[in-house]
């Protein structure tokens, strides 16, 4: 049976309450000792004197979801993790809003500290997601990841 592929996408900014809800969802798993959470926020970078007001995210969502599943499977093999949660915004997120949320859980802290940076880097490199930086004057440029 093929595993159901989870949808990582959330319309607009990710709300801090989703983080609280996801943490609370692990309370019954009393063998978990450590969580590590990464949150990415839209920065109001200044570029040539113009300030970023928002980022509009588009994606090949089906492929992004399947790739995110693949990165999860690889990470479960590579690290001793009990769970991995991934969310990414789609559509417009204003400066100051959260656009990515990744949480890893394990028995001990060493594993989560190793796994999280790896997973976030893989997601940035392999998920077909595209950010369009909208400036305050409504002009735009396409985001480039370093």
């Amino acid at each position: 049976m093929k595993e159901a592929i989870q949808d990582i996408f959330i319309k607009g900014a990710i709300r801090p309450e989703l983080v609280a809800k996801t943490i609370a969802g692990h309370e019954s798993k009393t063998d978990l000792g450590a969580h590590d959470i990464f949150l990415g926020r839209v920065r109001s970078d200044e570029i040539d004197g113009k300030k970023v007001a928002a980022i509009e995210f588009t994606a090949q969502e089906e492929m992004a979801n399947s790739m995110s599943q693949e990165i999860q499977s690889e990470s479960f093999k590579r690290f001793d993790l009990e769970s991995i949660q991934i969310y990414h915004s789609i559509g417009r997120v204003e400066a100051g809003g959260l656009c990515i949320f990744v949480m890893v859980s394990s028995g001990h802290r060493q594993q989560v500290f190793e796994a999280l940076p790896h997973i976030v880097n893989e997601l940035k490199a392999r998920l077909p997601i595209f950010g369009k930086e909208i400036f305050e004057d409504k002009s735009h440029q396409w985001k480039v990841n370093k």
Partner: protein
Amino acid sequence: MKIEFRYHGKLSEVLGRNSEKLQVNSQNAGDLIRELILQKPQLKETTFQLAQKNKILKSEAPIEELDIDVFPPFSGG
């Protein structure tokens, strides 16, 4: 064969559309990239890669689908 190309991110702006059907003859991804640049010279100045069935195509990969994603560099997160 007629393939539907889906342009993503910056490329949809460069090409002025999100998708279009084009008549092409290439059997693998490397050839298809060259053929696509011939038909769409605006792509010459950009970095892009192709995907089919939700997988990025290496140069030697055979073209098996009639839907192809055309991706600029990813910039999520």
